[in-house]
Structures are given as C-alpha cells and as structure tokens.
C-alpha cells in the first residue's frame, strides 16, 4: 500500500513530521508557567469561536445539532481547561516524599491524531489543549468529511498557541489525505503516539501499526432502568442524552432494558415528552432502514440525523416535534437489528421480567459491539447497581445520569472530561480511562533509595540469673500444662518449676520425646491442652521442647492453622505470602524455661519441626510464635553434659556471628550480637571445663539469650542453612553441624562476593569489617581487616579444638562416597532454607557445594587441639 505514495507525497509527509519533530524538540524547553499561559489563551480563543466552529461542522458534515455542537465545543474548552488548569505536566508533576518517589513528565514528542466526523471540532479543541499542556506536537488527520471544520479548529488553536509562545509547527493538519497517508504516518519512526478517535477501522489501523496508540472502541450502551429508579428523571435524562447532537456521541444510550413493573409507565412518559413509540410493524421498518441487513451495523446515512428525518425516510407517521423514535425489541443480536449501535435518535427498549433477565440482556447488548465502552443504570438500589457494574464490561458505568454527557465527564459526575473514551481490552484499547493529559505524557519515576523499616521484637518479659524461676509466682493460671522431655523430668527439673508456681495452680505435665518435634507430637500436645483447657503453657527444655510448645500453642489457639502452608518459603518476613492466623479460639500464656544455653528458643519467633516423611527440618517463623515470658535461670543448666554444653555454646556463638553480619543487622541487634560473642568466647571454655562454675554457666546462659535477641531480629545466614541440611540428613546435633561449617563460612563471607545480596539497609559490603571489629573486641590483634579476619577464624578454630569438636565431616565417619551422594540434595535443601536470606553474601549453588566440601575436608588442627570429649 505504501508503495503507491508518490515521491512528492512522501516528501510532503516527511516535511510535516520534520516540522512537528522540531517543534516538539523546542517545546521541551518550555516551563509549566509557559504552557499554562499558552493553554489559557488557546481556551479563550476557542471559546470565542465555539459557535463559528459548530456551524462549520454542521454545514460540512450535515450531522448533529448546532446548539449541541456549541455545547460540546464549550465542554471541550472550558470544562477541559477547568480539569487541566492546576495539573502539573512539566518537570516534577507529583511527589511522594514518604515513599521517596518523584514523578517527572517527559513529553511524547510527535502525536499523530485522527479525529472523527461525529464530534469533529470539539475533539480537535480538546486534543490541542491536551497537546500544549503536555508540550507535544500534533499532526492531525481529520475525517475526510469533516476536514474543513477541523482545519479551522486547528488553525484557531495553532495561532493562539504560537502567539503566546508555543513553537512554530506545533500543530499541522494533513491536507487532502487518504488512508495511505495515515498508514505512512502511523508507521513513521518519529511519530511517538497515535491517538485514534474514529471508527473501528481507524482504531484497528492504529493498533496494527506497531506504535503506541490510544484508540477508542465503538459503543453499544445498554441502559438498565430498574423499578426503584425515579422514572421522571430517567426518561428526561435518556431523552436529553440520546437526542444530544442527534445521538452522535458513542456513549449515548442504545437499548433501554426496563423492569416489567414500570415498563408501560416509562413508555408513556417517553411518549408524553415527545418520543414516538413504534408498533411492531414500524419497528421492523425502522430496523431495515437504520441497520444494514448485510453487515448488522448502522447505516451511515442515519448517523446524526433528526428523528423526524429518519421517520420520513422510513415512512413513519410521527408528530412534527418527535424527538426520539423508540422501538421495542424482544432480544439482542443480528435477528434483532435494533439492538446494535445507532448513532441517531433511535432507541431500542426491552421489557424484562426479572433483575436477572435485565442484567442478562444488558450484558448481551454490551457484548454486541460495545465492550469496554459505556453502560448506564437508573436505580436507587445499591446492590443492583453493584451487580450491574460487575456484570457489564464498560470503562464508564453511568449511574442515574445521561449516558453521553455523563461519559464526557465533568458535567454530571466527577469523571475526567474527555472526547476520547478508552474501552480497554474489550474494545481493543490499551486503557479504559477517559483519555486525558496523563495519556499524552511519559511519566518518569525517580525512586530514591529508602532504607527498609526494621524492627526489634522480643518477649515482654525476660527473667534471668540464678533463681529467676521464682518469677513464676506472679503468673496466675486456672490450668497449666508443662511440656518437657523424659530426661529433664527424671532429673527433677519439673519439681523445681512446681515449687515456684502459685500453690493453687493446677499443673499437668506432658512429656514428649527428646527430639525435634514431629507433627504427630504437636497434635498430641494440642489434645492435651484442649483436655485441660490450659490457659498457661510452660515449656521446660531445650530448643526442641520449646519449639514444640510454640507450635502446640499456635494450633491450640488457632486450630485452623495449616502448618504445611505456614512453612511456605519467604524472602522478607514482612512481605510473606502466608499470614499467620490472628483469630484465636483459645488463649494461653507461653512461658519458656530453657535448659540449654544455645538455641535461644525461649525468646525467638522460630520453631523447627522435623518432617519425618521428607526427612527435612521445617522452620516456622513468625513473631506470634515468640513466647510471652522467658526464664533464663542457670539452675536448669548446671548439670548439662560437656558435649551438650559445647554443642549449644557453639550454636550460641554462631547465632551471634551470623546476626552480626546479617543484612538485617542494626544497632539494636549489633549490641546484643557482639556482647553475646564476647561472653561466649570468655565463658564457654570455662563452662565446658568446669561445669559447676556458676558464673560461667550463668554467663553462657545469658549469652545464649542475648545472641537469640540479636538473631530473632537480624536472623542468621548460610552457616545455619548448611547446618540444617547437613544435620537433618546425617542426624548430627545442630551445634556440632554449625561448628563444622563455621570457619569456612566466615572465610567465605569475608571474601569479595560473587553475588551481592540486595539490601537497602547496607551502604556497602561490610561483613569482613564486622568480623574485624569482632576480632578487635576479642583483643585478637592484627593490623589490617584481612589479618583480623584470619585471627578471628584461628580463634574460633582454637575454641572448637578446645571443645573437642571434630575438625571435619569425614571425622564423623561419613565416607566420601556417601557424602558425595548426599551433596546435591544438601545443596538444594540448604538453598531452600530461609536462613541464608539474610546472609551478607548471596550464596550460589556451586558455592554452597564448595562450603560443604570444605567442611568435609575439614580445617587444620590448632595448638589447642584436644581430642578428649565426653558426652
């Protein structure tokens, strides 16, 4: 098709584009004040000429009503101006300081704009104002049968604009053009946007061009006149709208679906106000004239004609002042031609026996050529209005007002004034909006870095030091269930707790296996809680018992909690998909008394379950899991065996180290993490070597809790992810698994990451510096960061040797072949583990594998190496 354009024609079109491009380029230098001044003067110039332009339009197109076209021109200038006058469209247009966001306007450049025959001058006026307000240049391509009036409208706007500072060439109007010109310009590389207000062919061509396009779809507006509506208002509104400019606005009413109860009354009111109600024979005649039987679409000749002229053409005898021809129809579709769009004062009506039938017919009309456009309802029943708005697919749903003038916006409602109705995907358009200045802009968003909001959450009450359990006396309870494991019960720890409880407290002891809780154990515990209608749960034990109690409490209070779902992975606890239940059928206070010095479970929001079926540990994490009261009383750990002392102590140290370098680390967590590390370095060897040293036990017990305070808020890292995976697979104690990974993970985190972890709160990679700071606090020496990190690793290795930890996984008796077989799974499981999400360095799968192998091969012996270890 383009090949048929002559060289001269191409040169002409290229000239138009060049001129517009230059104008648009120059226009970018104008300020908001410049464009606002120009727009105001254009609007005033347009208002001066509204009647002149309306008259030109009528003379040229022979469509519509002069008075209505004047009104449309006024809406296109005054109402549009009223909407845009205070809008910022140059430079910074909106600011959201609390979100760190600024929106900056960028003009589109050259817009190629098609304008219709039905609203020719008003559409031009509207688009000129939008273009100047947004600093764009426009090449207009008016409908060939409305070219002269459009050209005049462009000229009036152009002269006013240039006179007041717009660049020359900002508007041009294609002369003596045809579809080939349009096709050429639609595909031109320098045209930034096509704004096609026209028939379906033009809109389709615009969207097919491959250019960004605004196009309006055709309409077929259904109206539901529901029995609760004010019939007087509805009838007047419909007549006003449908006869406005002889029905040329594509949002005007096409088929009115009327409830049976008011149908006759409404038709009588229409007739009283000048409508002609057709009988069956007249309706059939009208259908044949108004709708082309071959296509099912309206005949172009009837568009915008008076009702009396159409009646005359059909051969109907109507009163000389008939405003509207109303034809009853019995259905929607090709067999009922008048259910199609009719841009003239011809209206179909349908009698509906029920709300459901009415809604069905409205939907049918909407789908018969009007998808995405406009629908109208008259009703005072909010529920029916809602049902209607959900049923129809329309960008504009006009309530108790005229469709055509209502859809234009700004007169009967607060919608944006427009002469271009976006019809969404239903109408093959990119928007359902009333097209406005914001569609003529590229909006750039300047997004400043904002630190993520952080938090610091711990239990309301923490009691620590020797005999802290005395504080149990203050907690009144009608029924308390104590959860513990067999060994602790045998050791008499339950009796200690019993002594501290208020005398009248009924205490029921539930003993669970000494292992990470399985679902079965949790559910049995919930049964116990229900049986005794517990209002207080005391968890007496290490991490496994306390974790079990947390999950039992969760299921007891919220039986609907789905543990599998709650264990779903997440990246950021604040944005997680799954929310923990807040509705509770029971309430119980959870008091956690830790009997080991490591997990910190007494104050953390985490609980680890063992999934027997998959052989994996499942971590639940939510602050609702945090115990209400934590008791950190060293009398419960004085008899901890050496092995357990070492394992849990290293777990505590790992918590502190991982929390310190976490991407969630904050001044609130750092102080706790660093304090815990110092305490662990000082007191863990003493507690290990001298189990009865009360001070060492006390300080290690506190260190575990303090480290937990840090990691409950900053979380942990890769070390824990690997330890969870490895520990579960080979049934190795958690602390020992941590110890096997720890030196390797510190070296890994202290080196330059292959991949950085996205973290708005970290200004630079600082893990190595944090490790160096820790080395300084421990007085390890070294003059550079690198040296200090090395000294820290050596100190940890010495500590591990002092505590008689194995130096490698191989030392545990796991063969290379067995380990090699396990590694792929371990890597997958570790990568699924939420623990590493806060690691300073984002681990690659290959790197996790490398770390596992480093742990397998092991670390060198230190001078503190000791091979003695007793359980």
């Amino acid at each position: 098709m383009l090949a048929t354009l002559s060289d001269e024609r191409i040169a002409y079109l290229e000239g138009l584009v060049r001129q517009a491009r230059t104008a648009a380029a120059v226009f970018t230098q104008c300020t908001q004040e410049d464009v606002d001044r120009i727009v105001k003067q254009m609007v005033l110039a347009g208002l001066e000429q509204v009647q002149y332009l309306a008259r030109l339009a009528i003379e040229e197109t022979r469509l519509g009503v002069l008075e209505d076209k004047v009104l449309k021109n006024m809406v296109a200038t005054e109402f549009v101006y009223n909407y845009v006058r205070d809008k910022r469209t140059v430079g910074v247009i909106r600011e959201f300081p609390e979100r760190g966001l600024i929106e900056v306007a960028e003009p589109i450049g050259v817009i190629f704009s098609l304008t219709p025959i039905t609203n020719p001058t008003s559409t031009v006026l509207f688009k000129c104002i939008m273009a100047i307000k947004t600093r764009n240049a426009v090449i207009f391509s008016p409908h060939p049968n409305a070219w002269r009036c459009c050209y005049e409208a462009v000229r009036i706007m152009y002269e006013a604009a240039v006179k007041h500072g717009a660049p020359e060439g900002v508007f041009t109007c294609l002369e003596a053009h045809d579809l080939q010109d349009n096709a050429y310009l639609m595909r031109h590389k320098d045209v930034g946007l096509i704004d096609a207000t026209g028939g379906p062919g033009a809109v389709k061509a615009a969207y097919s061009s491959g250019k960004p396009a605004l196009g309006v779809g055709s309409g077929n507006t259904p109206v539901y006149l529901e029995k609760t509506a004010d019939p007087d208002m509805a009838v007047v509104d419909i007549i006003t709208s449908k006869t406005f400019d002889n029905g040329t606005i594509c949002a005007s009413e096409q088929t009115v679906v009327i409830d049976d109860e008011i149908y006759d009354l409404v038709l009588k009111k229409f007739a009283d106000l000048g409508a002609h109600i057709c009988n069956e024979q007249e309706a059939a005649l009208l259908a044949r004239t108004v709708i082309d039987p071959a296509t099912g679409f309206m005949q172009p000749l009837v568009v915008g004609q008076k009702a009396t002229d159409i009646a005359r053409a059909v051969g109907l005898s109507v009163k000389p002042n008939a405003k509207l021809l109303i034809a009853p129809i019995q259905g929607v579709g090709r067999e009922h031609p008048l259910s199609a769009e009719k841009l003239c004062p011809v209206l179909a009506v349908y009698r509906a026996k029920s709300v459901d039938e009415a809604l069905r017919v409205c939907v049918d009309v909407n789908h018969a050529g009007g998808l995405g456009h406009t629908a109208v309802i008259f009703s005072t029943n909010d529920d029916i209005i809602r049902r209607f708005s959900e049923a129809v697919n329309a960008g504009r749903i006009i309530v108790n007002s005229p469709g055509s003038i209502g859809a234009l916006g700004g007169v009967y409602n607060d919608m944006v004034p427009t002469f271009s109705f976006g019809c969404g995907t239903g109408g093959g358009n990119s928007t359902t909006d009333n097209v406005n200045v914001y569609h003529y802009l590229n909006i750039k968003r300047v997004a400043r870095r904002i630190p993520a909001h952080m938090w610091f959450r711990i239990p309301n009450q923490i009691y620590f030091n020797m005999n802290a359990a005395e504080n149990l006396r203050q907690f009144a309870s009608r029924s308390t269930v104590l959860i513990t494991n067999p060994a602790l019960e045998q050791m008499g720890l339950v009796d200690i707790v019993r002594r501290y409880l208020p005398e009248q407290t009924p205490l029921h002891v539930s003993v669970i296996p000494d292992a990470e809780p399985e679902v079965k154990v949790v559910l049995e515990g919930v049964e116990t809680l229900n049986l005794f209608r517990a209002d207080q749960i005391i968890a007496l034990g290490g991490g496994s018992v306390i974790d079990a109690a947390k999950i039992m409490k969760l299921k007891y209070e919220s039986p609907q909690a789905d543990l599998e779902e709650l264990a779903a992975p997440f990246l950021d606890i604040r944005k997680r998909v799954v929310q923990y239940p807040t509705e509770k059928v029971n309430r119980a206070r959870l008091i956690a008394i830790s009997t080991t010095s490591g997990t910190g479970s007494e104050i953390t929001p985490f609980a680890v379950m063992f999934d027997k079926q998959s052989g994996r540990k499942v971590t639940l994490a939510d602050y609702s899991l945090t115990p209400d009261v934590a008791i950190v009383d060293p009398q419960f750990v004085m008899s901890m065996p050496k092995g357990l002392t070492a394992d849990t102590g290293i777990d505590c140290l790992t918590h502190g180290l991982e929390a310190a370098v976490s991407i969630y680390a904050s001044p609130y967590t750092d102080c706790n993490a660093l304090q815990a590390i110092q305490l662990a370095f000082k007191y863990l060897p003493i507690a290990y070597e001298h189990p009865h040293d009360e001070e060492a036990r006390t300080m290690m017990h506190n260190a575990a809790c303090i480290a937990a305070i840090a990691f409950a808020n900053a979380s942990v890292g890769v070390n824990h992810a690997l330890a969870h995976a490895f520990g579960a697979r080979f049934r190795v104690a958690h602390g020992r698994a941590n110890a096997l990974m720890l030196p390797h993970v510190i070296a890994y985190n202290a080196s330059v990451p292959t991949k950085f972890m996205p973290s708005p709160n970290q200004r630079a990679y600082s893990a190595h510096k944090k490790y160096a700071l820790i080395a300084d606090l421990l007085g390890l020496g070294g003059s550079t960061v690198e040296e200090k990190v090395k000294k820290l690793i050596t100190a940890i290795e010495q500590l591990l040797d002092q505590l008689a930890f194995p130096r490698s996984i191989a030392e545990l008796g796991i063969s290379r072949e067995e380990f090699e077989r396990a590694v792929p799974d371990l890597v997958k499981i570790a990568f699924d583990d939420p623990s590493w999400r806060t690691n300073p360095r984002m681990p690659l799968l290959k790197e996790l594998e490398g770390l596992l192998w480093s742990a397998y091969e092991g670390r060198p012996a230190t001078q503190h190496a000791s091979r003695e270890r007793t359980a």
Binding site: R21, T22, A24, A25, Q29, G109, P167, G169
Partner: protein
Amino acid sequence: MATIAVMFKIDGEGVAPALQQAGERLDKANGHAVLDFSTVRRVDPAALSAMQELAATADGRGVKLALRGVNSDVYKVLKLAKLASRFSFLS
C-alpha cells in the same frame, strides 16, 4: 601539524542570526570551527533551522563543527531534533 579552530561566539539572544553569520565566515576556518553556546539558554525552530544549514555548509566545505558550552536543555533539543550527531561537543 596542529590546526587552530576558529571560534564563533553565539549570542544567546539571537541564535539564528549569529549562526547565519558564522556560516558566512566559515571560509576562515581551517578545517575546524567552534561555536560557543555558553550564553545560549534556549533555541527556537529558526535556530534549529540555521544549525541545520550551517552543518550542511560545513560539510560542503570540509569543516568540522564543534559546539562548546551547550547546556543540557539545549542538548536535549538537538538530540530530539536529530541534530546532535552533526556536531561534536566540547565542555
């Protein structure tokens, strides 16, 4: 051998005439000419047209044109008007 460019000061209040004058004196340029835009705050379509002509004249005479002191607003206009590639830019 080093060449010395001829410098044309472009008046910010009359960009198009200044460019036309520069075009007339382009013969004096020994293969290189510098247009000093440091006082030019804005350009209009006439200035762009003059720049286009000047670039064409310079091409015809084998003169390389450089613009000095172009502010970011004017540079953006030249870019959008597809004229930026006709010149080199000096700080």
